[in-house]
């Protein structure tokens, strides 16, 4: 067993190392972090705008006015989250290279806008379709443009750095204020970067894809999100999160750096459909994972383990752990349980640790597919939100979301029960024999 674990850790550690020290994935992760406060701000107002039963309490026109008044909060943040991710990536990648990061962010944004469609189809009263110019479709800045935005931000930041390093800058004579010469020094790299993207846009307008966004969306984003929204890929992601944590490595941060673009794109598809009053397309989204699989007391849904400890714990070690882990666990921080139980490298817990989330993933998926629980509607709930409340919020203010989380806790609890019992007994006996030894030595 030890040999096997050693081999496995020798495989996982380099993967974690590679994924986390890769400058693009780091920039991507930090880019999402830049976007997060805006995403959550928008989510809060989606929740308030769709307050339960409100549509029955007030008149239809008052409800419509109420929703219209709050609409811009999420329309300017959550719905167009791609923009913030792009600025974040451009900024962070340029910062990584030691360049002027604010220009890196701005140049990434402009490059993305150059590649973005700038017309929308508009259906006139007599059913003909006209193209309206002077607009940027908001879907391009959210769900549909997510992958293009990420790639563009990487390439724009790289090109910008390349042109800065070429040093084809306009040199100002001595005596010119530094701020003035700095604004000129950014001019040439920015001009060259943006021109490159403009050329790409023009080339694509002569292909059947018409726009670069359409090209990336059809060839990369759509297949990947279709794959990512299925059960098999979701189970792989969930198992990887668990496996990394088993070796004491932060599972989500490693897996998310690959899956986040997919999960957020799926999430925003649901949000767009929700806002348009259409049927939600996806079960698996960012919130499916965060709220129902990971976020019940932390990875591995350890809130159920803490409850188990309170119910059956006789050993001092588990009781102490329960007291320590419960307050943090309510807010989905579970490092005390992971390192204290311990879960890491503990052969006894590997079975419930790996099996429980898989079963919960199935149950959650089918509870939603069968219509018992609404799909996640696209709001992003902060991961520290306590269980039940987070389920309620993630499913568009419906109690079934919270109830499903309780069912999930019960499932995890049942799977863990026998293993927790064995562990508790071992600890209890160890503590007892240690005490007896001490008593004996005192007597002598």
């Amino acid at each position: 067993m030890n040999k096997f674990m050693e081999v496995l850790e020798n495989i996982l550690m380099p993967i974690a190392d590679k994924l986390n020290n890769n400058r693009y994935l780091t920039a991507l992760r930090n880019g999402f972090m830049v976007a997060l406060p805006f995403i959550i701000f928008g989510s809060i107002f989606v929740v308030i705008a769709n307050f339960p039963f409100l549509d029955q309490w007030i008149s239809e026109s008052a409800y419509e006015a109420y929703q219209a008044a709050l609409g811009p909060a999420s329309a300017s943040t959550l719905s167009i989250m791609g923009l913030f991710v792009i600025i974040g990536i451009g900024y962070k990648l340029t910062e990584h290279y030691g360049g002027e990061s604010i220009y890196g962010g701005a140049v990434a944004l402009a490059s993305f806008l150059i590649l973005t469609p700038q017309v929308i189809d508009f259906e006139t009263a007599n059913k003909t379709v006209e193209q309206v110019g002077g607009v940027i479709p908001t879907a391009s800045l959210g769900a549909e443009g997510m992958f293009l935005g990420i790639f563009t931000a990487f390439i724009a930041a790289e090109l910008y750095r390349f042109f800065v390093e070429k040093d084809w800058t306009i040199k100002m004579p001595a005596g010119v204020p530094e701020a003035v010469s700095r604004s000129f020094s950014a001019l040439i790299p920015i001009t060259l970067t943006l021109t490159s993207f403009l050329i790409v846009r023009i080339i694509f307008s002569y292909t059947p894809f018409d726009t670069v966004q359409n090209f990336i969306y059809t060839l990369i984003q759509e297949p990947l999100t279709a794959l990512g929204s299925g059960l098999p890929a979701t189970l792989v992601a969930v198992l990887l999160i668990q496996l990394f944590w088993f070796f004491g490595l932060h599972g989500q941060i490693i897996v998310n750096s690959v899956f986040d673009p997919i999960w957020y794109a799926l999430n925003n598809q649901n949000l767009d459909a929700f806002n348009a009053g259409q049927e939600l397309p996806n079960i698996v989204t960012k919130q499916f994972i965060d709220t129902f699989i990971v976020g019940i007391g932390g990875s591995g849904m350890t809130l159920a383990v803490i409850i188990g400890i309170f119910l059956i714990g006789r050993s001092r070690q588990l009781k102490e752990l329960g007291k320590l882990g419960a307050p943090a666990g309510i807010f989905n921080v579970n490092e005390p349980v992971i390192f204290g139980l311990p879960i890491i490298m503990n052969p006894l817990v590997i079975i419930p640790w790996l099996i429980a989330p898989v079963i919960v993933t199935f149950v959650t998926y089918f509870a939603m597919a069968s219509g018992m629980v609404p799909y996640p509607n696209g709001v992003i709930v902060p991961w520290t939100t306590p269980t039940v409340l987070s389920g309620f919020l993630a499913t568009g203010n419906s109690w079934q979301g919270g109830a499903l989380q309780l069912v999930n806790i019960a499932i995890v609890f049942v799977i863990w029960w026998p293993f927790l019992k064995i562990m508790d007994k071992q600890y209890y006996e160890n503590e007892h024999s240690a005490e007896e030894e001490r008593n004996e030595s005192v007597n002598m």
């Binding site: 190392d17 004491g248 490595l249 932060h250 941060i253 921080v333 490092e335 005390p336 390192f339």
Partner: protein
């Protein structure tokens, strides 16, 4: 005054440890500023720290942080998982002092 920096993924679980370490420092009569940050903030925060301790779940970041730590000239290490799980402030504080060569 000692400046002890802790880093984990979001700065949440290490901040749990920070409060325990502060208690331990007070009990020992050591004047120390102890604070926790998310991993992406760590390189910047290192400039005003005397030592960096990394949460064991982020131990794969050690190599990356080592470069910055070398530049600013501070020691760093990964927190021992057992002390981390027990939220053992005193043990981690001792580790920090040891690293600083006290």
């Amino acid at each position: 005054m000692k400046h002890i920096l802790l880093a984990c993924s979001a700065g949440m679980s290490t901040s749990l440890l920070v409060s325990k370490m502060k208690e331990a420092a007070e009990a020992k009569g050591i004047e120390a500023e102890i604070w926790a940050v998310a991993q992406d903030k760590a390189p910047k925060e290192m400039e005003r720290a005397d030592v960096l301790l990394i949460g064991p779940q982020m131990r794969f970041m050690k190599k990356k942080f080592s470069k910055t730590a070398e530049e600013v000239g501070i020691p760093l290490d990964v927190i021992d998982p057992v002390s981390y799980g027990r939220v053992d402030g005193a043990a981690v504080l001792n580790k920090a002092l040891e690293l600083m060569g006290e």
